[in-house]
């Protein structure tokens, strides 16, 4: 899954161990400053750890981009309840396959990040909630946890510090919705993955009703380098308010698809044409989804922009989970929209009406359109349904479906019109799949 060599534009912070022999073993980890950040954290006051993470401008890598240090600071340290650390390893956003590599090649970095978080908020146990399809990673993580325990980094009175902490893996069983933090907690507690009302937020009432730090795998993996080299050093790798590097998964019509670690703010066109080797077959770029399938699509001419949370938001889309999906000029945008909406209709948990009904109607109308049975008024109907969903669903899944739906009809209206009156899809000769 890795290219033999990193691309020269890459800045290797989280991925620096990926190409070492036996990179997942604790021996390799310890030989490369592994667990030194945790040792350092043991000498720091908990509030200083959080302060360092705040200084780093690390923002949640799962997609929302919330400042991590701030999130940790919401945990009431004085609460008499047990506190938990939960890693979201449910990686399910289409276009995203970076956490898989982090867990496969450097599982101890995740454990160390969780340990540091535990030290910062006084937590006693941690769970890695991992999607059921990633079974081989559960084996790798369980082995790493066992190694860490044998070396005294987990268990009771860790390194003589008086700190007790355990980490467990916890498998999902097939549900995109469980990547939403409160649905994840429901699943962790043995229930259907139906989201909870927020507030209260997990920081005050999370796993088992207790204060909980819940972050994405990549977010935790960024913590050891922040503690080891200082928050400022990490912040300086990126752009203002967007610290560090990010693992971008570049997929679709490029010559060298792959996961690349690039500084926050790296130009999207450079990412496509230089790092990922350009468009396959020398074709022209048509569109890019910058951060996983829930993000509004960008037309080629909108893609000359720095890839950080704020710049992509200004361009009308989202950096999301960093899954960059590249589409060339041969792509039918109606088909792409139909396939994406079919996914959200499948994954809607059905709990709230605007999402359950909206995703299904959008999916049906888009599929009908792509079959050549679209009606002119459907184009505006898609936009209307999407607008009626935005901000009106119980959890972000409704927005995750409505935002892309709206963007495809707004930005590629001409392609919808080209499908009208029973005309066959101009981009495909035979089959229609969506």
């Amino acid at each position: 899954m890795l290219h033999p060599e990193p691309h020269p534009a890459e800045v290797l912070v989280l991925t620096r161990r990926f190409r070492l022999p036996n990179s997942a073993s604790i021996e390799t980890y310890l030989a490369t400053q592994g667990y030194e950040a945790f040792r350092k954290a043991l000498t720091m006051a908990p509030e200083d750890i959080i302060e360092e993470v705040k200084k780093s401008n690390l923002r949640g890598r799962g997609g929302a981009g919330f400042p991590t240090g701030l999130k940790w600071s919401f945990v009431p340290r004085q609460s008499p309840k047990p506190k938990y650390i939960v890693a979201n390893a449910d990686e399910g956003e289409p276009g995203t396959c970076k956490d898989r590599l982090l867990m496969q090649y450097d599982p101890h970095a995740l454990l160390e990040g969780m340990l540091i978080a535990a030290r910062a908020v006084g937590a006693s146990a941690g769970y890695i909630y991992i999607r059921g399809e990633y079974r081989y990673l559960i084996e790798i993580l369980d082995r790493a946890i066992e190694e860490a325990r044998q070396h005294g980094f987990l268990g009771r009175n860790i390194l003589g510090s008086g700190m007790d902490f355990e980490i467990y893996t916890h498998s999902g069983a097939g549900s995109y919705e469980c990547g939403e933090e409160t649905a994840l907690l429901e699943s962790l507690e043995g229930k259907r993955g139906v989201p909870r009302l927020r507030p209260p937020f997990p920081a005050t009432s999370g796993a088992f009703g207790c204060p909980t730090v819940l972050n994405n795998v990549e977010t935790f993996c960024a913590v050891p380098p922040i503690i080891l080299h200082g928050g400022l050093a990490f912040a300086n790798l990126g752009t203002p308010k967007n610290g560090g590097t990010r693992l971008f998964a570049i997929s679709g019509h490029v010559n060298r698809p792959g996961v690349y670690e690039l500084p926050m703010g790296f130009n999207l066109l450079r990412m496509i044409h230089e790092v990922a080797g350009g468009i396959r077959g020398g074709r022209k770029l048509k569109a890019v989804i910058p951060g996983g399938s829930s993000c509004p699509v960008l037309r080629a001419e909108e893609c000359d922009l720095p890839m950080d949370f704020d710049s992509v938001a200004r361009a009308g889309s989202m950096l999301g989970s960093g899954g960059v999906i590249v589409m060339d000029e041969t792509t039918c945008m109606v088909r792409a929209a139909a396939r994406i909406l079919r996914f959200y209709a499948h994954e809607s948990c059905g709990f709230c009406t605007p999402c359950r009904e909206g995703t299904r109607w959008l999916s049906q109308i888009l599929s009908r359109f792509h079959r050549g049975e679209g009606r002119r008024e459907d184009i505006d109907l898609i936009a209307e349904i999407a607008r009626n969903m935005l901000g009106r669903t119980f959890c972000p899944l409704g927005d995750a479906a409505a935002m892309p739906a709206l963007s495809y009809v707004q930005k590629f209206r001409e392609e919808f019109e080209a499908h009208l009156e029973g005309k066959p899809c101009p981009y495909e000769e035979v089959t229609v799949h969506a």
Binding site: G172, R192, R339
Partner: protein, 166 residues
């Protein structure tokens, strides 16, 4: 129910990971681990889980009906899960799925008559940069083509007649 030592050890570890008074927390992974051995969530499995975790059959049914990997009927010996979501679609995932349907003579969620293969069109499996991708049980196969798929099927048939694991 009696499980293999390996599965039993896994279930014990899982139950030990639940905070005191929160046995139910083990429910989702427990169902999946048991399904891996038994092949499906049968009425006996539900009963077994109810007694181990002190939950009601209804609470288990709620969960079984929600998670897409949990199934009531066994899949084939080799469960082929082909991703056709957006990144895999751009790389030919839908065409690969159609090819697989023709090759095996079954459709989505079908099982071949000999019980050897089952097929499922799945949503994103986290292999977006290496599409089209599929999983055979839990094993990943990346950058698939129809030709590579045919070779994989022949390989699995040979494995099965030689009784070795996939």
């Amino acid at each position: 129910m009696k499980f293999s030592d390996e599965t039993e050890a896994r279930l014990q570890r899982l139950m030990a990971s639940c905070p005191p008074g929160n046995k139910r927390s083990a429910l989702v992974p427990m169902l999946l681990f048991i399904q891996d051995e038994v092949g499906a969530i049968t009425p006996e499995v539900i009963q077994e889980v109810c007694s181990r975790l002190e939950v009601s059959p209804l609470e288990v049914e709620e969960v079984v009906s929600y998670y897409s990997m949990l199934r009531r009927k066994p899949a084939g010996r080799y469960h082929l899960q082909i991703c056709t979501n957006i990144s895999c679609m751009l790389a030919g995932g839908a065409e690969l799925f159609e090819h697989a349907c023709r090759k095996l003579g079954i459709g989505h969620q079908g099982v071949t008559e000999d019980g050897l293969f089952s097929l499922e069109e799945v949503e994103c499996i986290g292999a977006c940069c290496w599409g089209p991708a599929l999983q055979v049980n839990y094993n990943y196969y990346h950058n698939m083509t129809p030709e590579a798929f045919d070779r994989l099927i022949e390989q699995l048939r040979r494995n099965h007649s030689g009784r070795s694991e996939p």
